[in-house]
C-alpha cells in the first residue's frame, strides 16, 4: 500500500490532463476520509503527547529559564554542553549502564531457568509460576516499601537472617559502594517473572520429537539446551533484551522511594536526573537537554526494537 498507487476511477475522456490529476487526488481523499475520521482521536493524542512533546523538548532545550519567573533566554546549545559537563549527569549515565547490564543479565538468565523448569503445565508448576509472577503485578513503589525494610541496617530482614554471618554488617542502602547493587536486586526480583512468560511462550515452538531424537542420539540436557533450545529462542532473547533495556531506562520509582539518587549520587539514574532538574531545580532547559540526549541515545535501540517489532508484526 503506497501513496503512488493509482486509484481505479472512471474519468471522462474530455477532462483535461491537469484536472484529471486533481480529481484523482480529491477522490482518493474522499474515499480515505472515513479512515481519517476514525484515526483522528488517536492521532490527536499521539501527536500532542509524543510527537508534539518531542518538538517541545527540542525547543525547550535551546532556552534557559533559571527560575519560573525569570525571563526566557535563547542560549543555543548551552544547555546540552552544560548537561554533558555536569558530573551528576555523566555519573547517572554510568550508573544507568551498570544498572542496565547488572539487572538485564541476571533477570534474563533466571527467567530462562524458570521457564525451562516450569515449561510443563501442572498444578505444581502453575503455582510456582504464579509465585514468580507476583512481583510483576505490584507497583514498584510497594516493592520499594518492602525492600526498605529488607535492607534496613541491623534490624532488617537481610541482616536478621544473613547479615549475622558477615564480620561487618553492611548498610545496604547507605553505603555508596553497595546501594546501586541493592536497588538492582529489587529490579531482578520484580522483572524475572515477567521475562519468564516470554521464554515460556518461546519454548512452545521447540519441537518435542527433535528433543526426543537428540536424546536418543545421546545428547545430554546441556547439549540439547545449547544446540536445540537456545537457537530456537533467539528471537525471544532479542525481544526480552530490548524490553529489559527499556525498563532499565524508564523505571526509577524505587530510586525515588528508597535513595533519592544518593548516597552521593551513587544510585542516580538518568530519568531521575531529568526529574530532579525539572522538579527540584526548575531547570527546564537542562531537563530538556538531558531528555533529548537520552532519546538520542535510545535511537539505536529504537531501530533495533523496531526491527524486532516489524518481524513480529509483519507490517501493515
Amino acid at each position: 500500500m503506497s501513496l503512488a498507487e493509482p486509484a481505479a476511477l472512471p474519468v471522462a475522456a474530455s477532462v483535461p490532463p491537469r484536472l484529471h490529476i486533481v480529481t484523482r487526488f480529491s477522490t482518493r481523499f474522499k474515499t480515505s476520509l472515513p479512515a481519517y475520521l476514525l484515526l483522528l482521536p488517536s492521532i490527536v493524542f499521539l501527536t500532542l503527547f509524543t510527537y508534539g512533546a518531542i518538538g517541545r523538548v527540542l525547543i525547550d532545550a535551546l532556552y534557559q529559564r533559571a527560575t519560573p519567573k525569570a525571563p526566557v533566554l535563547f542560549v543555543g546549545l548551552d544547555n546540552i554542553s552544560a548537561v554533558l559537563a555536569d558530573p551528576a549527569f555523566t555519573g547517572a549515565v554510568i550508573n544507568n549502564l551498570i544498572y542496565a547490564v547488572g539487572t538485564a543479565v541476571p533477570s534474563i538468565g533466571l527467567a530462562l531457568l524458570f521457564a525451562l523448569a516450569l515449561a510443563r503445565t501442572n498444578a505444581v508448576t502453575s503455582a510456582l509460576r504464579a509465585a514468580l509472577f507476583l512481583p510483576v503485578l505490584i507497583p514498584m513503589v510497594a516493592a520499594s516499601a518492602l525492600f526498605l525494610f529488607i535492607f534496613l541496617p541491623n534490624v532488617g530482614l537481610l541482616d536478621y537472617y544473613i547479615g549475622r554471618l558477615l564480620p561487618v554488617l553492611p548498610n545496604w542502602l547507605g553505603d555508596s559502594d553497595i546501594a546501586l547493587y541493592a536497588i538492582m536486586i529489587i529490579t531482578i526480583w520484580k522483572n524475572a517473572g515477567y521475562y519468564m512468560l516470554f521464554f515460556l511462550a518461546g519454548l512452545q515452538s521447540v519441537p518435542e520429537d527433535v528433543m526426543e531424537a537428540a536424546h536418543l542420539d545421546g545428547a545430554g540436557p546441556l547439549m540439547r539446551l545449547r544446540y536445540i533450545i537456545l537457537p530456537e529462542l533467539k528471537p525471544t532473547f532479542l525481544f526480552v533484551i530490548v524490553i529489559a533495556t527499556l525498563n532499565a531506562v524508564t523505571q526509577v520509582d524505587h530510586v525515588f522511594v528508597m535513595t533519592k539518587g544518593g548516597p552521593s549520587n551513587s544510585t542516580n539514574l538518568v530519568l531521575f536526573y531529568i526529574y530532579q532538574q525539572a522538579v527540584e531545580h526548575y531547570d527546564i532547559g537542562k531537563a530538556s537537554a538531558a531528555t533529548l540526549l537520552t532519546l538520542a541515545a535510545l535511537m539505536g535501540l529504537t531501530a533495533l526494537s523496531f526491527r524486532t517489532m516489524a518481524n513480529r508484526e509483519g507490517g501493515p
Binding site: 500500500m1 501513496l3 482518493r28 474515499t31 480515505s32 479512515a35 482521536p41 488517536s42 492521532i43 490527536v44 493524542f45 499521539l46 503527547f49 509524543t50 510527537y51 512533546a53 518531542i54 523538548v57 533466571l110 531457568l113 524458570f114 523448569a117 510443563r120 505444581v124 510456582l128 504464579a130 509465585a131 514468580l132 507476583l134 503485578l137 507497583p139 514498584m140 513503589v141 520499594s144 516499601a145 518492602l146 525494610f149 529488607i150 530482614l157 516470554f198 515460556l200 526426543e212 545430554g220 531506562v249 524508564t250 522511594v257 530519568l271 531529568i274 526529574y275 522538579v279 530538556s288 531528555t291 537520552t294 529504537t302 526494537s305 523496531f306 517489532m309 516489524a310 508484526e313 507490517g315
Partner: protein, 289 residues
C-alpha cells in the same frame, strides 16, 4: 530426590532419568520460595503486635498473638479510601477513552484502505518505541498549558491514545471474516453500526486482554502522577503510599508500613489470583508491545 521425582512425574520421557533438569527444577522451587519472602514478611509484619518490639520485626514466624492494630493505624494515617478512589477514577477514565480510540483506529488499519496508510501506521509504530515515560518534562508543560496541572484528567490525558491497543485491535478485527460485515452492509448498516454490532462484540477477548494490561500499568504508575498532582486529596495509591512510607519510616512503624503496602497491592493480587490464566495470557500478548 523422591520429592522432585513426584513433582516432575509428567516430564517428557527423555528427561526423566537425567539429573540436570531435576537440579534446575529444585533450584527454581528454592528461588520461588525466596521470591515469596517479601510477601510473607508483609503478611507477618502486618499482623505483628507492637509489643514484639523492633528486634522481632524481621522474624518470619508469625506472632502467636496476631493483631489488626497495624491495619487500623495505616487506615487512619493514610487516606487510603481516597487514594483508592483516585486510582480507580484514573484507570477507568483512561480505559474508557482508550476503548473508544483504539476501536476506531484499529478498525481503520484492519479494514479500510486509505491514502498514506503505511506512513500513518509507522507513525503509530514509532510511538511504541519512543518511550513516552521519558517525555515527562514536555508532557507536564503541555498538560499545564491545557490548565490540567494538579487534576486527575491531567494524569489521564497522555494515555488516551494507545498505539499498542490499536495494534491489538487491528489484529483482532483482521481475524473476523468479512462475510459477516458484508451481510450487515446489505442490510444497510452504517460504518459505525458495523463496528458497534459486529466487530466489537466479536473482539471481547482482545478488549479484556488490553484492559488487564492497561489497568495494571496505570494502577502501578508513579512518576507521572507524582509530577502532575500537587494536592494531597488527588493522590493516587502509589503516590499516597510513597508519602505514607516516608512518614512512617521516620517513626520506625514498620508494621504500619507493611499494612499500608498490603492495602495498596491487595486489589490487584486478589484479582490476579482469581483470573490467573487470563492475566498471564494478556501479559504474553503484550509482548507485541
Amino acid at each position: 530426590m523422591k520429592l522432585i521425582d513426584a513433582l516432575t512425574k509428567d516430564t517428557p520421557l527423555a528427561t526423566r532419568r537425567e539429573i540436570t533438569p531435576k537440579l534446575g527444577f529444585a533450584l527454581t522451587v528454592l528461588l520461588a520460595l525466596v521470591w515469596l519472602i517479601p510477601f510473607l514478611w508483609m503478611g507477618v509484619a502486618t499482623l505483628r503486635p507492637a509489643s514484639d518490639g523492633i528486634n522481632l520485626m524481621a522474624e518470619l514466624m508469625p506472632s502467636l498473638k496476631p493483631t489488626l492494630d497495624n491495619i487500623r493505624d495505616a487506615w487512619e494515617i493514610g487516606d487510603f479510601p481516597r487514594y483508592f478512589l483516585n486510582t480507580t477514577i484514573i484507570c477507568t477514565g483512561i480505559l474508557l477513552v482508550q476503548f473508544f480510540t483504539i476501536t476506531l483506529a484499529g478498525f481503520a488499519f484492519a479494514r479500510l484502505d486509505f491514502a498514506g496508510k503505511s506512513l500513518i501506521f509507522y507513525l503509530f509504530l514509532m510511538q511504541l518505541m519512543l518511550v513516552p515515560v521519558l517525555l515527562i518534562v514536555p508532557n507536564l508543560r503541555i498538560i499545564a498549558q491545557f490548565g490540567l496541572y494538579d487534576t486527575l484528567a491531567g494524569v489521564m490525558m497522555p494515555f488516551f491514545a494507545s498505539a499498542f491497543g490499536t495494534f491489538l485491535m487491528r489484529q483482532a478485527f483482521e481475524a473476523i471474516p468479512t462475510e459477516l460485515e458484508d451481510a450487515a452492509l446489505i442490510d444497510g448498516a452504517s460504518l459505525l453500526q458495523r463496528i458497534r454490532h459486529i466487530y466489537v462484540p466479536l473482539s471481547i477477548p482482545s478488549f479484556s486482554a488490553f484492559a488487564i494490561i492497561s489497568v495494571t500499568s496505570h494502577w502501578n504508575d508513579f512518576l507521572w502522577p507524582l509530577m502532575v498532582i500537587n494536592s494531597p486529596d488527588k493522590r493516587p495509591l502509589t503516590v499516597g503510599l510513597s508519602v505514607f512510607t516516608a512518614t512512617a519510616e521516620g517513626t520506625q512503624a514498620w508494621g504500619t508500613i507493611a499494612a499500608g503496602t498490603l492495602m495498596v497491592i491487595a486489589p490487584l493480587l486478589i484479582t490476579f489470583l482469581i483470573f490467573q490464566k487470563r492475566f498471564i495470557s494478556s501479559f504474553v500478548t503484550s509482548g507485541i508491545k
